[in-house]
């Protein structure tokens, strides 16, 4: 398994075979995840294969909101459950003061039982890492 995937699986308590039959690809400081057919497609050079799963920084690995929305459902730790109002605030780019039983660092944000994105927790501040496209009401 890709060591980046292993690192994120460990942080979020995901099974070691979180990818199942999916494959990972590292390109341009990014980890992409997709089906084997997507990863092996070579008739032309695609602009994008699958979805972005994580960004690679010199001293950290940042999970992406869209990657975690798909695979984060298997996570068992470093999760923060949000109310409707908290979810809207964070999706709109805000931050919250919360007491959460999580490690400092990247956490997964859950709303209504679904992973909606990624936050960064530095006790007691939970800051949104969700990309902002448009406001949510």
């Amino acid at each position: 398994m890709n060591r980046r995937i292993r690192e994120l699986s460990a942080r979020f308590g995901m099974p070691t075979d979180v990818l199942g039959r999916l494959e990972a690809l590292e390109e341009q400081e990014t980890v992409f995840v997709g089906t084997p057919e997507v990863m092996s497609f070579d008739a032309v050079r695609p602009m994008r294969r699958g979805i972005r799963f994580a960004r690679i920084y010199p001293y950290s690995l940042k999970p992406t909101t869209f990657g975690m929305q798909v695979l984060g459902g298997q996570a068992t730790r470093n999760l923060v459950e949000l109310t409707d109002e908290q979810a809207k605030l964070l999706i709109n780019g805000g931050s919250l003061n919360v007491k959460a039983d999580v490690d400092n660092g990247f956490v997964l944000l859950k709303w209504q039982g679904l992973v909606v994105g990624v936050g960064f927790y530095k006790r007691p501040v939970l800051k949104s890492q969700i990309p902002r496209f448009r406001s949510v009401e």
Partner: protein, 335 residues
């Protein structure tokens, strides 16, 4: 009611062959219902209905994952000039949209993938894909397996396509930015299914944009058939023997529809036109002639969705099959 002024040429052209023409004009002046599709990559139908129960979405009678929104306003007479205003909920600002549980998509635009029926594990080409509504629909139908090659030549439109593929959680999509004809040659003979949802004069969008009617002209229509003919031929070339293709547009003009299918049948006489049916959705047969042009009998198996029949945009659909045993590529195809 807000009366739109349809150009004289528009009325002269389309009153010739559109049945119930007054009902057609009437429907083209009514604002389009807001509709969405449940994205099964992210949530079940029941979960979405539970989360959106405040809006009381109504199921489309012909697609279990498609829903339309009732108006917010009480007075039907206000609907005519409300457009997408306060009488229709703004689905794009819902959390469910942001998270990708739903995809806001016009009802008729959900039909081409339903007709194409991509299956799990297959290789599918969406040759003119942006902004990605049909790519994401097909990806979900394939249960995030196999490969959807999703292409658009425009740098700006392909960015939106990638954004929608990300939001919908499509793990089986490779996004390309190429000329569609060149891509068809590059993957010649390898695709189980192909969708050619061709760029068109977009007469169908008149229901959601008054500007679309302002821009309408016969000269605008004349700009599209050449690219449409290139794309339908490229899509056919990409098919495996035994594979299926859907050609679709959101426009009414026969030059962009029946004439394009006729062009394909002239170039590839072995191509078969299937009968396009979706239970519960009313569709009309393709035309047999337009102006001085007579179309082959098979073109009558194409289908037209008219706005008065199902309260959607107008749409055109052709289901085409490449026969088994037709595996030879002509050298001229690859040039």
């Amino acid at each position: 009611m807000l009366r739109r002024r349809f150009p004289k040429a528009f009325i002269e052209r389309y009153s010739q062959f559109i049945p119930d023409f007054d009902a057609f004009l009437d429907a083209m002046q009514r604002p389009l219902r807001r509709t969405f599709r449940v994205n099964t990559h992210k949530a079940t139908r029941d979960k979405v209905l539970e989360l959106m129960s405040d809006l009381k979405p109504e199921p489309l009678p012909w697609f279990e994952l498609g829903f339309s929104m009732p108006e917010n306003g009480d007075s039907p007479s206000e609907r005519e000039d409300a457009r997408y205003g306060p009488h229709f909920p703004n689905l794009g600002k819902r959390i469910e949209h942001f998270v990708g549980l739903i995809y806001v998509q016009e009802a008729a635009s959900m039909v081409p993938p339903l007709l194409l029926q991509p299956q799990p594990g297959e290789r599918v080409l969406d040759i003119a894909a942006a902004p990605g509504s049909k790519t994401t629909e097909m990806s979900a139908m394939m249960q995030n397996t196999g490969l959807v090659i999703s292409n658009d030549p425009s740098p700006t439109r392909v960015r939106g396509l990638i954004g929608n593929v990300d939001r919908a959680g499509c793990l089986n999509v490779a996004v390309c930015r190429m000329d569609g004809a060149a891509l068809g040659r590059a993957v010649a003979g390898t695709c189980d299914r192909v969708l050619v949802d061709a760029p068109c004069s977009s007469e169908g969008t008149i229901r959601k944009s008054a500007q679309a009617l302002d821009r309408w002209s016969v000269a605008t229509i004349a700009r599209f058939p050449s690219i449409q003919k290139r794309l339908i031929a490229a899509g056919y070339l990409a098919l495996k023997p035994g594979g299926s293709m859907v050609y679709s547009t959101c426009t009414v003009a026969p030059e962009e529809n029946e004439s394009v299918v006729t062009h394909l049948l002239e170039r590839y006489p072995e191509a078969e036109v299937g009968t396009a049916e979706i239970p519960g959705l009313k569709m009309r047969p393709g035309l047999s002639e337009w102006g001085r042009e007579s179309f082959p009998e098979a073109v009558g198996r194409c289908r037209r969705i008219l706005p008065q029949d199902n309260d959607t945009e107008p749409f055109f659909l052709a289901l085409i099959r490449k026969p088994v045993g037709n595996s030879e590529l002509r050298s001229s195809d690859l040039q």
